[in-house]
């Protein structure tokens, strides 16, 4: 394996002079799943936003595949994000008016690369074969999160960011979802950063870090 896919150096974020986090540095290799623990309000989601280019850090640098995000305008960041990042959210955020297949295909459509085969592959990979024409309101929470995972990986992004992906799930379902996420991330060779306050979720990671106000450290 070559150098780290994701490199973060001395990242800091302040809001109105009040620090959220500081001196965050980490590296994530291709196919590696890194979990970041932290208390509520410590800035885990803010860190993910900074990694995704959705928030401008107050200091530091983020590089993905050797390309720095620093100094890019919003449009460039948006184009970059649609090709290079996949998201899994706590609240699923599956669009209620699209079918399961259409939800999964959304990143491919945004890239102008519709690929029905790939969508079918991901449906099967997450155990939802045959669900393509179903509407989200007919699915359970666990099924919805699997749709979200399929959507996050359908376009083979190098980076997957998961923000409390099991926060709305029962323990058994959460376990299955984390298994799936870890398996798929490794299978696709993506670097995955997972923020969570659940030790059970973090147990699936290759590394577990803890985010605090003064920085990030091994948990």
């Amino acid at each position: 394996m070559s150098g780290p896919l994701l490199r973060v150096e001395h990242l800091a974020k302040h809001y109105g002079g009040v620090p959220v986090f500081e001196k965050v540095s980490l590296e994530v290799a291709r196919g590696e799943l890194v979990a970041i623990l932290g208390e509520s309000g410590v800035g885990k989601s803010t860190l993910l936003n900074a990694l995704a280019g959705l928030d401008v850090p107050s200091a530091g640098r983020v590089e993905l595949g050797g390309r720095a995000l620093h100094g890019l305008d919003d449009t460039t960041l948006a184009h970059w994000r649609r090709a290079h990042v996949g998201f899994v959210f706590q609240a699923f955020h599956v669009l209620p008016h699209l079918t399961v297949a259409q939800n999964i295909a959304l990143p491919l459509l945004l890239l102008g690369r519709p690929d029905h085969e790939r969508v079918g592959e991901m449906l099967a990979a997450v155990g939802l074969a045959g669900f393509d024409a179903r509407l989200p309101r007919t699915l359970s929470g666990g099924q919805l999160q699997r749709v979200a995972i399929a959507r996050a990986l359908v376009h083979r992004p190098p980076l997957v960011l998961a923000d409390e992906p099991t926060g709305n799930l029962d323990p058994d379902t959460a376990e299955r979802v984390m298994d799936l996420l870890a398996t798929q991330v490794r299978a696709e060779g993506a670097a995955c950063v997972l923020v969570t306050h659940s030790l059970h979720a973090a147990a699936h990671a290759d590394r577990v870090l803890r985010l605090a106000a003064h920085g990030i450290e091994d948990a």
Partner: protein, 839 residues
Amino acid sequence: MGTAPGIRTAALLRTLTLPEWRAHPLRQALALLAVALGVALAFSVHLINQSALAEFSAAVRAANGEPDAALVCAQRDGCDDALVDALAAEPAVTLASPVVEIDSYAVGRDGPRVPLKLIGIDALQVAAVAPALLPHPADGADRTAFIDPDAVFLNASAQQRLGVAPGGTLRVQHGLATVSLRVAGHVAAGGAALAVMDIAGAQTHFGFDGRLTRIDLRLAEGARADALRPLPPDWTLAEADDAAQRVANVSRAYRVNLTVLALVALFVGAFLVFSVLALSVAQRTPGLALLGVLGLSAAERGRLVIAECALLGIVGSAVGVAAGTLLAKAALRWLAGDLGGGYFPGVAPALAFSWPGALVFAALGTMAALVGGWLPAQRAASLAPAQALKGLGGTQHTGKAAWRGPALLVAGALLALAPPIAGLPLAAYASVALLLVGGIACVPALVAALLARAGTTTSPLALLALQRARHERDAATVAVAGVAASLALAVALTVMVASFRDGVSRWLDQVLPADLYVRTAASSVASDQAFLPPEFIGAVSALPGVARVEASRNRALVLDPTRPAVTLFARPLADPARSLPLLGPPLAPTALPGVYISEAMATLYDLRPGSTLALPLAAAPVTVQVLGIWRDYARQFGTVAIDDQRYRQLSGDTRVNDLALWLAPGAPIDEVQRALRTLAGEPSLLEFVATTQLRVLSLAIFDRSFAVTYYLQAVAIAIGLAGIAASFSAQVLARRREFGLLVHLGLTRAQIIGVVAGEGAAWTAAGALAGLALGLTVAVVLVHVVNPQSFHWTMELLLPWGRLATLAAAVLLAGSATAAISARAAASHDAVAAVKEDW
């Protein structure tokens, strides 16, 4: 056990609704403003109408006094005054007060003529029946001035308009000359310019020797006026309220039309309330769902939304009543009491505020808000709590109500065929309302049909928009319906006014064939005193540059004491088909004198070609036969056209009021006018107008009388567009999580704005098409039913496509721009954070 529903609703209002309103003050302010604006418009029109009518009626009553009964002469030239002595001998009569009522013009200090009603009275008797007409000599004036035949007493309006004070001279027109009278004091009667003088002086100066126009009676206790019958043939018995009733009837159609138009503003306001509340409910769906899960029943959720509407309605109506009062005060000051309609000339009434009226319009405003909120309340009641909590609940489209729209349209079409009720197009108004509501109720089906035809797409942005619209049809329906409603009203009014204006313009071309028109009486009311003598007409015919002169006489005829007077129009009618805008070929003349009546006369008096009627042209009524019907846009209450030679034979009346002059080719019109002024001797007693100028003037009067319509049209569009803005803004707010997700997935800000703006443009375009179709349908009813039933004239339907296209384009542009502006907020940084929201 448990709190009463009302108490719980009040608690929910306090704990849930008020904080939500505080969090979104602009949205609620918009709904409140819509109700307030609708109520303000409707109430102000009502107040203006009532104030003007009250003032005018009071003035009429002051001028007519309050007798127990009155005998009115059918001839405006008066009837034999010997009847007074006969009445004085009647046991049923305790007082017979003779009156000569003359309508003419007074020449003011600054020159221009002012319409003046001159009343000749017996000052020793008038106080008992019409105290407002009692002359009050000025300080220092002779105490017996009230029996001086050359003295006159002015009311406040006459003094102010004429600029003549006690001691000054008033010149009153008689024929083409003036009678000089000395101003000796004042009278208390209000209203338009009025003068009172001794009856003998009025009879002598104005050609009423031995004649009266009215006798006011005080009856003995227990006596009835019927005891005086039979009356001489040229006298009629008038009830005390006949004059006031006639005044009310003159303006009734105009007042009702204005009020209906103002109520339309209330309807549009209700729609805005619906738009705001529909989307407020949509945005609060998770919260309402949580309440449902925690135990708030469907009925209670519905009651909460209804209570919110009621609160909005009450507060908005209160604001509206206050604003409407101020608006009415300003309008009465700047636009007089008839808002340009010309029904209350010379009246600048004070505001007559009415608490019952205020309560009625406040109730209407609250009802409008409740009507607007009914459907959102149903939605709040019917949502599925479990689904909605997951953010997956949408409203179910069962299609159960799909029949309502077409049913309402059919009902509206059938009502348009109904006849007037109490002389007003009430069924037609109901038809317009049902057509509008029915058309809007068809919008969901229209939206569904458009979506069904849209097919599939691989474009992600189009896919997002289409799929959203297919599954969240209500939001699209609200947007389309809002555009359709506001544009429909604007289109209907534009077509109606354009049709009417075009009709008037073409009518003017036919009824104004001459080059120059000269008149001395501006209306038939004063035409008996302001007339042109025969020698003047002969002299005009001989003027250089004048090729042909046509003289005409117009006078008022009272055929029914409870109805406004009709106008008799005597002019050369050798070829009536050429001279009059006839509707169909005329009948051949018969032994009876033939007349041609206007559409209004035919409708009001139930006449048709071949009918006969009795006209009070002479001492005894003359039976005439209707030979044809013509279109007359100048006189709303009926016109009878008769050949001038025949008229003179029947009536002995040789007076002429108007001259139509055809000039020789190349004759300078200014020089002819100068020569006419020289001939007249007193130039201020004549009015000249070239045909082109008359056309411009007539159309300007038309535009002025429709000024309020244009204003209401603008308000309807403004309220509609505000509703669209609220609709799109709230939709965008409700979709923040969706937009946040799209930002995460890599959509650019411009693309998100494009998606929303594109949706906005698409739905606005659909709404514009629907509004255009609906507006044209309503216009047909306005042109072919409401107008004829209100004003008794017909017109051809004209479709001003250029103006309609401009309206539609303006609405499309405004709707798209509004959506784009709303979308900018959607693509903001806050949208990114929205994905963290629990729902």
